[in-house]
């Protein structure tokens, strides 16, 4: 366990972007909150405060989540390639740490450590922004942004998302690790080409597009598997617009459905197999 702690610390030394990007995103959003010309007043007076709070929290959280997905993808592609490229793998391999430990520490960094860092970043940003906006917009908006229950729900939502996406995207992460441990150059290209080639080959020879469907279900399917589409909505009519906001996260979270879905576990099994392949490649491929 001690080795894992050191390896994760090592990832922070190597990839300062792990915390610098969320810090930059947070800083940017806070600057927007400070100087942005958003007409918060008019919104806040007409829309129920709970809806404003929800939209605000989800917008900030969503921004962080989107940036995190892109960064985590890049991290996974790079993590077993960078030290082969600069040959520092010869130093890491001179230490009594197994290749399995190394690969698993990088996987854990991508699927747990990085999301948690972004989660903390999103939380801090929302807190600071809520404070700034409250001050700027006086009392009107203040109440809208300080629903304790809403905050609690957001924490639950984040944790639920971290856990479910770690499991759901395991095959994607495994595939990226395989590419990262295998490619001699151009990891980005190598990660995209094989699926596209397979997809085209299938279409060419069989006229079907099962791979495309399966890929799409995996890449875009977390929402459909982890959440219920209708978890209860609150509808408000403001002027002529109808605003529909979720009544709360509890109705939407579908943990039972997610954890009992065969698709969840079939994907996880494929992911585990790919990770085993990545470990084997790491053992055999020392240099580029």
């Amino acid at each position: 366990m001690n080795n894992y702690a050191w390896l994760v610390r090592r990832e922070f030394w190597e990839n300062r972007a792990i915390w610098m990007i969320p810090a930059a995103v947070g800083g940017f959003l806070i600057l927007c909150g400070l100087f942005g010309r958003v007409d918060v007043m008019s919104i806040a007076t007409r829309v129920p405060s709970l809806a404003v709070g929800e939209v605000f929290l989800v917008a900030v959280g969503g921004t962080f989540f989107a940036v995190m997905s892109i960064y985590a993808t890049w991290y996974l592609l790079d993590c077993l390639y960078a030290d082969r490229k600069d040959r520092s793998i010869l130093f890491w391999k001179s230490l009594p740490i197994s290749d399995a430990t190394t690969v698993l520490s990088k996987l854990a960094t991508a699927l747990i450590v990085i999301p948690v860092v972004y989660f903390v970043g999103a939380d801090l940003t929302t807190l600071i922004m809520a404070f700034i906006l409250s001050v700027r917009a006086h009392s009107l908006l203040g109440a809208a942004l300080w629903h304790a229950d809403l905050w609690l729900q957001l924490q639950v939502l984040w944790l639920y998302l971290i856990v479910t996406s770690a499991i759901w995207f395991l095959p994607v992460a495994g595939y990226l690790l395989v590419v990262s441990a295998w490619a001699k150059r151009a990891v980005m290209l190598w990660s995209i080409l094989p699926p596209i080639a397979l997809l085209l080959a299938e279409r060419w020879f069989f006229g079907t597009h099962l791979i495309a469907i399966e890929l799409w279900r995996r890449l875009a399917g977390l929402g459909a598997h982890a959440f219920r589409p209708d978890g209860g909505w609150v509808t408000t009519v403001v002027d002529n617009d109808t605003i529909r906001t979720p009544a709360g996260v509890w109705g939407f979270i579908d943990a039972g459905g997610f954890f009992s879905s065969p698709e969840t576990w079939a994907g996880a099994a494929v992911g585990a197999a790919l990770i085993a392949v990545a470990i084997q490649l790491r053992t055999r491929r020392t240099e580029i």
């Binding site: 001690n2 050191w6 030290d83 520092s88």
Partner: protein, 285 residues
């Protein structure tokens, strides 16, 4: 004591290219062994196999481990510097020490700090800010602070100036080496290490062409410097290599009759580098 490294029929192929061709050798504890060969002879392949960095055919035991299958276990007792300056550019010197101290049970931090203090390299600098020579010194400090039974060095002083090189080898022999340790070293600068080696392994075209201690070399090989007019006479003694040198000819003999050679000219024990050239150019065996 069992040998530290025992290889028999060690073979490594890359496609159709045979880098190691049924090489058999052993390294005894407490020795400083030079693995010497021309470029492309299989030195690096042999080292990679010994360190568990690559798969191989044949039998290989290093400190009772099968290197490729048990690299993690092996690295508790062995350490290596494979080529120079492979410390990653983003790594800070103090972090490097913390990390190795954290994951290596045999690492002695005080030793590493003492070694680094001599170089004047300060802790918070990143590798990318250091010159190649400084990077090598950091790596050497990290490695020499590990209480290992086997230390493998692949061109350890490449990029170091002559003062640093001399200091490194002095430290290696005086501070690091003792009877419990074994050092395997490859270098192109044979002259630089031949005084500290106890054994040599010559490797050529993937095969071991000489596996001998320096003491054995002294009894087994001889070189004779003869004047040009007595070369024919000397050739009758069947030298395996000869070299012209300022009007004289130096002839190299294996298992010679020393009394008869002494009549021809001045007899001496060839240096490791001369023997290396003689063995590899002269169509050995």
């Amino acid at each position: 004591m069992p040998p530290v490294i025992e290889a028999s029929n060690l073979t490594k192929k890359y496609g159709s290219h045979v880098a190691l061709d049924r090489a058999s050798f052993s390294v005894q504890p407490g020795r400083i062994v030079g693995l010497i060969g021309p470029n492309g002879a299989g030195k690096t392949s042999a080292l990679r196999a010994i360190l568990g960095l690559t798969n191989y055919e044949g039998q290989l035991k290093v400190l009772d481990s099968e290197p490729f299958r048990e690299r993690t276990r092996l690295m508790h007792d062995a350490c290596f510097i494979a080529d120079v300056a492979v410390l990653p550019s983003w790594l800070r010197v103090d972090h490097a020490i913390d990390f190795v101290a954290g994951v290596h049970p045999r690492f002695r931090r005080d030793r590493a700090l003492a070694l680094l203090a001599k170089t004047g390299i300060t802790g918070r600098r990143r590798m990318r800010e250091l010159s190649k020579g400084m990077k090598t010194q950091v790596h050497l400090a990290l490695t020499m602070a590990i209480d290992a039974k086997l230390l493998v060095l692949d061109e350890p002083t490449l990029g170091l100036d002559i003062l640093a090189r001399r200091a490194f080898y002095d430290a290696l022999v005086n501070d690091y080496m003792d009877e419990t340790r074994t050092i395997l070293i490859t270098t192109h600068q044979v002259e630089e290490v031949e005084n500290l080696l106890t054994d040599v392994l010559f490797i050529d075209k993937g095969r071991i062409v000489l596996d001998s201690s320096l003491d054995e070399i002294a009894t087994r090989y001889a070189a004779v410097e003869v004047a040009a007019d007595r070369v024919a006479e000397a050739r009758a003694e069947k030298p395996f290599y000869e070299r012209r040198l300022l009007g004289k000819v130096v002839l190299y003999f294996e298992r010679p009759d020393l009394d008869r050679l002494a009549l021809l000219g001045e007899v001496h024990t060839p240096s490791v580098s001369d023997l290396f050239v003689a063995k590899l150019s002269g169509g050995a065996e």
